[in-house]
Amino acid sequence: MLSIKEKLAQLQGERSAPAHQAVQPSSDPQGMAELELLAETTPTGSVWRRQRHISQALAPMVDLAACSRLAGMDLALIAKSWDFRDLAAKDLIFIDTETTGLAGGSGTYAFLVGLARLHQDGLAIRQYFLLNQGQERSMLQAIGEEMGSAKALISFNGKSYDVPLLRSRFILNRLPFAWEASPHLDLLHAARRIWKGMDGYALTNLEREVLRFQREGDVPGYQIPELYFTAVRSGQFAPLKGIFQHNVMDLLSLAGLLVHAQRRFQLREEPQSRDITGIVRTLIELGLDEMAEGFCQSHLTLRPDAPWPLVMRQHARILKRQRKYGDMVRLWEKWIGNMATFNLEPYEELAKYFEHIAHDYGRALQIIERAWQRLEISSQMGSRTLATTALYANLQKRRLRVSKKLKKLRDHEGSAYDG
């Protein structure tokens, strides 16, 4: 009679024994000292932890001092959330996890959780390591306690990855998880707002483009799960050294990105023209209109080559919201005055304003006629394309509507006069 294993092997069409026979790990894990890991006994079991203090001298590419001086306002701008207004750098906890893969679901877990806090003289990092899954509960409890001492999270893609993953692990260990509602600054989201048009938003891209450095000898992310599995199966943990370093680098880069993001809002670091939209929009959404306007103006003055449409559009939006219509009309007219190739937008915006807000149909019609003439001139030079046809149609529709309104108004006025 065949054993279950033999039957399975036959059913699965295996010709020989599996290539990987389980290796029985030696009773004591090897290499913990090289990883600088120390075991700590907690009421629920052992927790392995590594503590590192990164001073400015150790991390020249990140201005840790500047980072530790970040004020609540800076954080609010970067996070685009007022939740951060009353916080300071010391209230933040940086988090980055190394996991067993990207498959998702309850079979994926974090085996290394790096937490970091800012101090005046650097970054204090604690890395929690899962020697085997039997210790997960005690590790999570320790992490939970440490996270509980901070007021806000800083992560990279943590909103969609690290936090949901940890939540799932806490639930699996029947532990309460309270960080879904905490203030959380996800630097991936912030980077997308602040640095426009990047060639991808992987952390390594941001390091190269924004922080201006490249990691050397880093462990590529896709190798991490397998390295961990091999270590657990063999009991040899020293080869994981690179992963611990990788995790430290991730945490440091978070600090670096915070500093650079803050500089953008201070105008201390001249933004690329394309970045201005995100920054201005953030300011507007936080209700900081004057700051946004100032940002636009100084940008237009500082950068004569600025892309008019982008900046103008943002600027005009602020003026409109503030009902500074006179300034808004001047701004659109300025655009028209500077316009090299035909663009309907400023005409359209002016026409809309006169029609819907000022109810000055006469002036609205004038704007439409001006646009029409300008379009004729520019389309005489080029051929009449589909796009031009659409522009004419747009103008025509608007002209008819406004004319009708104007006529109605005049009839009405006429009859009122008669009466």
Binding site: L2, L11, P18, H20, T100, G107, G134, I171, R233
Partner: protein, 770 residues
């Protein structure tokens, strides 16, 4: 035209009646009511009354009572007998009592889930007037928008889904469904007869995983199952859920009178058993009914046939100047909105005719039509009744016509009405412990929650039962670097998402795809399982598909593709397969005097060696060729019957003729067995052996064509005498002279006396011990 006129019309049609093998009038049955259970919530009672439900049918009342008493139940329900109430009432009652209570509904298809949710909504809306919170029910499947998922997970009282989504979308992400699993009170599994064979073996394991997760979160839901009429509903539901079930089998719903007609198209070629095309006959009948404005549904066995019949009927409608929009097709692949429109049209009567695959056999509400025509036996008795139930009004009589094809099972059914009208012989068979299936799901379960070193997979709520092999399978997974043992538990340790690699509906083994190259654009016309491919689609084979001949230009074995093109030739090909079978482990055996039988695990090796070209009509052998394909081996389940070594002498048959007779008997068993195991003819294969190894005696082996088997071998061990008996009926009733594909196979293969000898062999099986 009303039903009486229609009946008169058909009865006076001599051409029609001459091909009717049975015309049975089923009497109307009145409703059988029972009062509402005492404990029913007053708000629910008044909602039901607003819903025009004044009393409960007896089966509804009994099921509801079982559930309210905390028991599990399976209710056997014909079409339109109000089965949804059987579970909606206890579920809503519980939610009214405990706001946090949750229920999970499983339906085999998405379309059905949506339909059932619509019905549930109606009841909830009526309830809503009397309660101060919202009862929320949602479908959760592949079409559910991502934005809606979060609120379904946390706030859906009733989540309606399908087994596939539960398997790959819900269970592996159970931490997102804490609310559901902590409060799960009921699991409803509807249409359980669909979950037979491999699909059911998978689902039983998905249920094991579900229960494991419920236990983790501290809930212990009751199970409510619904089934069409099958031979073993209770046993089947218990296998599927792993829990004790109460059976509610008597139907209390009223039934209108019904005329059930078997129509067997005229024989064209007696020798080959070829009849007039049943598709043509069915469409002619349907065309005739539609002309008389009789609302008709036609069921066809494939999507392609649906289209053929539909084209014909639309053309027929145009000829009578009626709108062709009055006839519609309905099958998987149509968009949901279009389906809803067709369903509405049928209910309102705007649509007169519909041609459908079995998609409409499920409980989707299309009202009640006058006539149902089945183009070919639907494959199972349960399906036949469900399809026939699509015609049937409570006040007026209805009609169901089964048009038989020349396939053996069709011919058997139209000749033996007792199998349809009597006690159903069909058993729902599953084998949740098939090792391959089990391995897949223990893998998925280990991903979901770590296993302890004492744990047995698939235990009952009371802690009994469970899979013995659990720990050994986990150790196998450790060898394969999938799990890791630490501190008394097996933990998942791999980067994969195992549910993704496990399909509940199809065998893991690959099929060979058949590609037609007759036209410029290559077209896939079918699939054939790997084991049958060397016989059917080897190089140079003539492959029959539909009624079209195809020449196989090339079988690309590595890529599992057969390239064919249409031809019209005067011959067919017949490949020789050298099969060998070895018993690996016998599970049960019994000696029957000189005979013996048993079931267990076998290893089947087969290799196609050569093929013959055989001319139609004359059966001349006009050439042959070699087949050069690798040998295939499969480990699977089987039933075997061993004859005494001198059986031919006992039966007075020359030894050579006995060999043909054994082959003939094997063909017959292969033809009728699907009727008993509720399977497809391709699910099993019968191998005759003159000298079976181990015994050195003549034997018949019926082996399962899915690795590891799904339990057909074990079932046949119990019922083989009934199967053999049905085989004798099939042979004796067949109109052919000396064997045809509809019974024992062509005379060329089984000899002139094949029919006679097959019956002799099958009698031994029926009568043993001799």
């Amino acid at each position: 035209m009303n039903m009486d006129q229609l009946i008169a019309l058909l009865q006076n049609d001599k051409e029609f009646t001459s091909h009717v093998t049975l015309w049975r009038h089923l009497e109307a049955q009145p409703a059988h009511y029972l009062p509402f259970p005492q404990s029913l919530d007053g708000r629910l009672l008044s909602a039901l009354k607003k819903h025009h439900i004044q009393q409960l049918y007896s089966h509804q009342a009994r099921t509801i009572d079982h559930i309210l008493q905390g028991r599990n139940a399976v209710v056997v329900t014909p079409t339109a007998s109000g089965k949804t109430l059987c579970y909606n009432v206890p579920v809503l009652q519980k939610v009214l009592q405990t706001r946090e209570a949750r229920a999970l509904y499983l339906f085999p298809t998405k379309a059905l889930s949506q339909d059932q949710v619509a019905e549930l909504h109606e009841l909830i809306t009526l309830l809503g007037e009397d309660i101060d919170f919202d009862i929320k029910s949602y479908t959760f499947d592949g079409d559910t928008p991502v934005a809606a998922r979060k609120s379904i997970r946390t706030s859906g009282h009733i989540v309606v889904t399908n087994p596939d989504m539960l398997h790959s979308g819900i269970l592996p992400h159970h931490t997102l469904w804490v609310k559901l699993f902590e409060n799960l009170r009921f699991v409803v599994i509807d249409e359980i007869h669909h979950y037979r064979g491999l699909f059911g073996s998978h689902l039983a394991n998905v249920v094991r995983r579900l229960k494991r997760i419920c236990a983790f979160y501290g809930s212990r839901p009751q199970f409510i199952c619904c089934s069409a009429t099958i031979a073993n509903p209770r046993e089947f539901a218990e296998r599927l859920t792993g829990e004790k079930m109460e059976l509610v089998a008597e139907n209390g719903a009223p039934r209108g009178a019904k005329h059930f007609i078997f129509y067997n198209p005229p024989l064209l070629n007696r020798e080959l058993g070829i009849r007039q095309s049943y598709v043509k006959e069915a469409q002619k009948l349907a065309g005739r009914f539609l002309r008389h404005k009789v609302q008709t549904i036609v069921f066809a066995r494939s999507r392609m046939r649906v289209e053929i019949i539909l084209t014909y009927l639309k053309e027929a409608m145009r000829k009578t100047n009626a709108s062709e929009l009055q006839v519609r097709g309905y099958r998987g692949g149509y968009l949901p909105l279009e389906r809803r429109e067709i369903e509405r049209g049928l209910r309102s009567g705007e649509i007169l005719g519909v041609v459908s695959t079995n998609a409409l056999e499920l409980g989707i509400d299309i009202g009640q039509l006058q006539v149902c025509i089945m183009a070919g036996y639907p494959g199972t008795i349960a399906s036949t009744w469900q399809q026939a139930g699509r015609a049937g009004r409570r006040s007026d009589a209805s009609m169901a016509i089964l048009v038989a094809s020349s396939a053996p099972l069709d011919q058997f059914i139209v000749s033996n009405p007792d199998y349809l009208f009597g006690q159903s012989p069909e058993a729902g068979i599953i084998n949740p412990d098939n090792l391959i299936v089990l391995l897949s799901h223990i893998k998925c379960a280990a991903f979901e929650l770590p296993f302890s070193e004492q744990e047995r997979f698939g235990i009952r709520w009371d802690g009994s039962e469970g899979v013995d092999a659990t720990q050994e399978i986990l150790s196998y997974l450790e060898d394969h670097r999938v799990v890791h043992r630490a501190e008394g538990k097996w933990h998942w340790m791999a980067e994969i998402y195992p549910a993704e690699a496990v399909s509940l509906r199809s065998a893991a083994e690959e099929n060979v795809v058949i590609i037609d190259r007759s036209t410029a654009d290559e077209r896939v016309i079918g699939e054939i399982d790997l084991f049958a491919a060397p016989l059917m689609v080897h190089d140079e084979a003539i492959y029959l598909h539909g009624s079209q001949q195809y020449h196989v230009d090339k079988l690309d074995w590595e890529r599992r593709k057969a390239y064919v093109r249409e031809v019209a030739v005067d011959h067919y090909t017949d490949a020789q397969l050298k099969s060998d079978l070895r018993v690996i482990e016998s599970s049960e055996e019994k000696t029957l005097d000189a005979c013996a039988c048993g079931h267990g695990e076998v290893s089947v090796t087969s290799v196609a060696t050569m093929y013959k070209k055989i001319k139609f009509n004359t059966h001349e052998n006009i050439g042959w060729g070699k087949i050069d394909l690798p040998e295939l081996t499969m480990h699977t389940g089987a039933f075997w019957f061993i004859f005494p070594v001198d059986i031919h002498e006992r039966l007075n048959i020359p030894q050579q003729e006995f060999s043909d007779g054994l082959k003939a008997a094997a063909n017959v068993l292969g033809n009728v067995a699907p009727l008993f195991i509720m399977g497809d003819p391709r699910d099993i294969s019968v191998l005759p052996m003159m000298r079976a190894p181990l015994w050195q005696k003549p034997a018949l082996f019926i082996w399962e064509r899915y690795p590891g088997g799904v339990g057909h071998g074990a079932k046949l061990f119990q019922i083989y005498a009934d199967v053999a008996h049905a085989g004798i009926q099939l042979v004796q009733q067949c109109g052919c002279d000396s064997g045809c594909p509809s019974c024992v196979g062509p005379a060329l293969e089984v000899g002139e006396k094949g029919k006679q000898h097959a019956v002799a062999v099958l009698r031994v099986m029926v009568q043993a011990p001799l």
